[in-house]
C-alpha cells in the first residue's frame, strides 16, 4: 500500500496506476456480474428472441422448425376453439379473484391491526394457508368441496342447503378456485398489516378531532396512506393471475379423475368443459403434451405482450389514485 502511495506522487505513474485501478474495478464488476450475464443471456435473452422466431414456425422438437409465416397467429385468433375460452377464464380470474383476494387481505389486516389480544395467534392462523404447498392446498380443497362426501356439502346439507357441484360443475369450478385463492391470501395480508400499522397515529388523531368516525377514518386516512402498497398487491396479483397454472391443473386432474400421467390426462385439462382451462394451462397443453412448440411460442408472445401492457397500464395510471408520501420512491 505504502509503495503505491509513494508512486502516486509522480504524475505519469499516477495516471497509469489510475487506469490500472479502473481496469481492476471493471474486472471486479465483471466477476461479480458473471452469473447474471450468463444466466440472463441463456435463460432470458436467448429464449425471448428464440420464442419470437419459433412463433413463426411449425416445430415439434423432432424435425427442424419449418417457417410458416403468420399461420400460428392466424390459427390462434381465428380457428382455435380453445384460445378464447382460455383467455376468458384468465380474465375472469384477474377481474374477480384478484380483487377479492386484495379485499380480503386488506379486511383481515385492518381487523388485525385493531385487535388487542391474540394478534400473534390470529396472524399465524391467517398466514398458514398461504404456506401450504399449492398442490397440497388444491388437493385439500377438491376433497373439502367434493359433492359426494365433502365436509362442505355435508354441512350445507345439514343446514338444509343443497350444495353445488363445485369443482365438477362448469359454473362453480372457477368460484371454487377463487375460494382457494382467498384462503391463501396470507402473504398479501402480512404486507398490508405492516403498512396499516405504519400509518402515523397523528393522522388518525387529527381526523378524529375533525369528527371523523371509524369508516371515514378508514376511507380518508388508512386507504390513501397505504395506497402504494395496495397498488403493489394488485400488480403482483394480476401478474400471478396471468400465470395461474398449478391450482387449475391439479384441480382439473384430481376432480376429473384421470388415470395416470398420460396423454389422457392432457385431455382432462380444463375439466369440466374447459371451465378451468386458463391461458397458461392451454399453453402447456399445446407445447408440452401435443408438442406444437411453434404454436405454443405464438401463445407465449401474446402472453408477453399482454403482461407488458398490463404492468405498464397499472403503473402508468396509478398516479391518479395512489398517494405517495412526500417524494419517497
Amino acid at each position: 500500500m505504502s509503495a503505491a502511495a509513494a508512486e502516486a506522487t509522480r504524475p505519469v505513474d499516477r495516471s497509469r496506476a489510475k487506469s490500472r485501478a479502473a481496469w481492476r474495478r471493471r474486472g471486479i464488476v465483471l466477476a461479480f456480474m458473471s452469473p447474471w450475464l450468463v444466466g440472463f443471456s441463456v435463460f432470458f435473452g436467448y429464449p425471448l428472441v428464440m420464442s419470437a422466431y419459433l412463433s413463426f414456425t411449425h416445430y415439434d422438437l423432432l424435425s427442424p422448425p419449418r417457417w410458416v409465416g403468420l399461420d400460428n397467429y392466424r390459427f390462434m385468433f381465428g380457428t382455435d376453439q380453445q384460445v378464447w375460452p382460455a383467455v376468458k377464464n384468465t380474465l375472469w380470474f384477474i377481474a374477480i379473484a384478484v380483487p377479492l383476494q386484495v379485499l380480503f387481505a386488506l379486511g383481515i389486516a385492518i381487523m388485525l391491526s385493531r385487535a388487542r389480544r391474540g394478534v400473534g395467534v390470529f396472524r399465524t392462523v391467517f398466514y398458514l394457508p398461504a404456506l401450504a404447498p399449492p398442490v397440497a392446498a388444491t388437493l385439500g380443497f377438491v376433497y373439502l368441496l367434493n359433492p359426494a362426501t365433502g365436509p362442505v356439502n355435508t354441512i350445507l346439507g345439514k343446514l338444509g342447503i343443497q350444495g353445488p357441484l363445485w369443482f365438477d360443475s362448469p359454473e362453480w369450478s372457477k368460484p371454487s378456485l377463487t375460494l382457494l385463492a382467498i384462503w391463501g391470501v396470507g402473504n398479501t395480508m402480512i404486507i398490508f398489516l405492516a403498512a396499516v400499522i405504519d400509518v402515523p397515529k397523528h393522522l388518525y388523531e387529527s381526523a378524529e378531532l375533525d369528527g371523523a368516525g371509524i369508516f371515514s377514518r378508514l376511507r380518508f386516512v388508512t386507504l390513501p396512506t397505504i395506497s402504494p402498497v395496495i397498488l403493489f398487491a394488485v400488480v403482483i396479483g394480476v401478474i400471478e393471475g396471468l400465470q395461474y397454472f398449478t391450482q387449475a391443473y391439479v384441480a382439473a386432474n384430481v376432480a376429473g379423475g384421470s388415470a395416470t400421467y398420460s396423454a389422457e390426462q392432457a385431455n382432462k385439462l380444463g375439466y369440466p368443459e374447459d371451465s378451468t382451462l386458463f391461458y397458461p394451462v392451454l399453453l402447456y397443453q399445446q407445447g408440452f403434451r401435443y408438442f406444437n412448440m411453434g404454436y405454443a411460442s405464438a401463445m407465449a408472445m401474446l402472453l408477453l405482450a399482454v403482461s407488458f401492457a398490463v404492468t405498464f397500464l397499472i403503473v402508468r395510471h396509478s398516479r391518479r389514485f395512489v398517494h405517495y408520501q412526500g417524494a419517497a420512491r
Binding site: 474495478r25 444466466g39 383481515i108 391467517f126 404447498p133 346439507g157 402480512i190 391443473y249
Partner: protein, 297 residues
C-alpha cells in the same frame, strides 16, 4: 418501525383526557364487533386444516361416508402412504432440488446484488431494469426455447433443468438483496476499504453479516419456492417418475394408486408438514421477509 408505533399509545394518555362514557362505550362495542368478526374469519380459515386432519385419520370405509369425525382413528394411514407411494424418493428429490437450488441461488445472486447496489459502474441501472422486467414476466413466456435447450442436452426427465438455472442468479432474489444492500451505511464499507479489504472480502464479511435477515429471507423463499414448485417439476420430470418431487407425486397420488380420500389427505398432510414445521422454526424470518418484499417493493 414497530417500536415507534408501540410507544405512542403509552405516551398519549398523559396528554389526552379520558374520553366521555358514550365514546368509551362505542369504542368497546366496535372492539367487540371487531374481535367477533376476526374469530369467525379465523375459524373459517383454520377449518380446512381440521377437516383434512380428521379425514386423514378415517378408515377407507368411513371416507366413503359423509361422516365428519373419524371412528375409529386410523393412525396407520400415515404409514400406509409410505408403503403405497415412494414418498421417501419424492422427498429426496425435493430436498435435492430445494437444497442445491437455494445454495446456488445464494452463491450467484449475492455478488450480483452487491455489484448492482454498491459498485459504481455504467449500465448498472439498465441491468437492474432488465432484472425487474425478468421478474415481472410470466415464466411461460420463455419456457418453450428453454425446454428445447434441455431436451437437446438430454436432461429432460431429470431435476437438473430445475437446479441449474438457480446457480446463475434469480431475478427476484437479486432485486430483494439489492434493495437491502442499499440500506447499509457507506461508512461500514469505507472503513473496511481503509483496512485494506478487497470488494470480495467486504462482501463476504461486512455485507453478508449486516444483511443476514435479508439473506435468510431470500434463502427461505427460495427453499419454499422449490419445495412448492409444480410447473417446473411437472414439465421436466413428468415422464420419469423416479425423479418426481413431492408436489408432482402428490398430484398423481390419488389417481395412480386408486385410493380413497383418507390416504390422499394423509399424503397431503405429509407434504404440508415440513413447510409448516419450517414456519414455526423460523417465524420471525418469515414475517420480516414477507414485509420486506412489500415495503421495499
Amino acid at each position: 418501525m414497530s417500536t415507534s408505533t408501540q410507544a405512542a399509545p403509552v405516551a398519549a394518555p398523559l396528554v389526552r383526557r379520558r374520553p366521555p362514557a358514550a365514546v368509551r362505550r362505542r369504542r368497546f362495542l366496535i372492539a367487540v364487533a371487531n374481535h367477533s368478526l376476526l374469530i369467525a374469519t379465523a375459524v373459517i380459515f383454520i377449518a380446512p386444516f381440521i377437516f383434512i386432519v380428521l379425514t386423514s385419520l378415517m378408515t377407507s370405509q368411513q371416507a366413503l361416508s359423509p361422516k365428519l369425525w373419524p371412528d375409529p382413528f386410523a393412525w396407520h394411514n400415515f404409514t400406509d402412504v409410505f408403503s403405497k407411494a415412494p414418498m421417501w424418493r419424492y422427498a429426496f428429490n425435493t430436498l435435492l432440488y430445494a437444497g442445491l437450488g437455494t445454495l446456488g441461488l445464494l452463491v450467484s445472486s449475492i455478488p450480483v446484488a452487491y455489484a448492482l447496489a454498491r459498485l459504481r459502474w455504467r449500465g448498472a441501472n439498465v441491468v437492474f431494469l432488465i432484472t425487474l422486467i425478468a421478474m415481472m414476466l410470466p415464466p411461460q413466456v420463455t419456457i418453450v426455447p428453454v425446454y428445447v435447450l434441455w431436451a437437446k442436452l438430454h436432461l429432460v426427465g431429470t431435476i437438473w433443468p430445475l437446479v441449474f438455472p438457480n446457480w446463475l442468479g434469480d431475478a427476484f432474489s437479486i432485486f430483494l438483496l439489492r434493495q437491502f444492500f442499499l440500506t447499509i451505511p457507506e461508512e461500514y464499507l469505507d472503513a473496511a476499504r481503509v483496512d485494506g479489504c478487497g470488494e470480495l472480502r467486504i462482501l463476504t464479511t461486512v455485507v453478508c453479516r449486516l444483511a443476514k435477515p435479508a439473506i435468510a429471507a431470500v434463502a427461505l423463499f427460495s427453499f419454499l419456492f422449490c419445495f412448492n414448485d409444480f410447473f417446473g417439476p411437472l414439465l421436466y420430470t413428468g415422464e420419469n417418475s423416479s425423479h418426481w418431487t413431492l408436489s408432482v407425486g402428490l398430484s398423481q397420488f390419488r389417481s395412480l394408486y386408486q385410493v380413497q380420500w383418507n390416504l390422499t389427505m394423509a399424503a397431503t398432510l405429509i407434504v404440508m408438514a415440513p413447510v409448516i414445521l419450517l414456519f414455526f422454526l423460523a417465524q420471525r424470518a418469515f414475517v420480516e421477509g414477507v414485509t420486506l418484499t412489500g415495503v421495499k417493493g
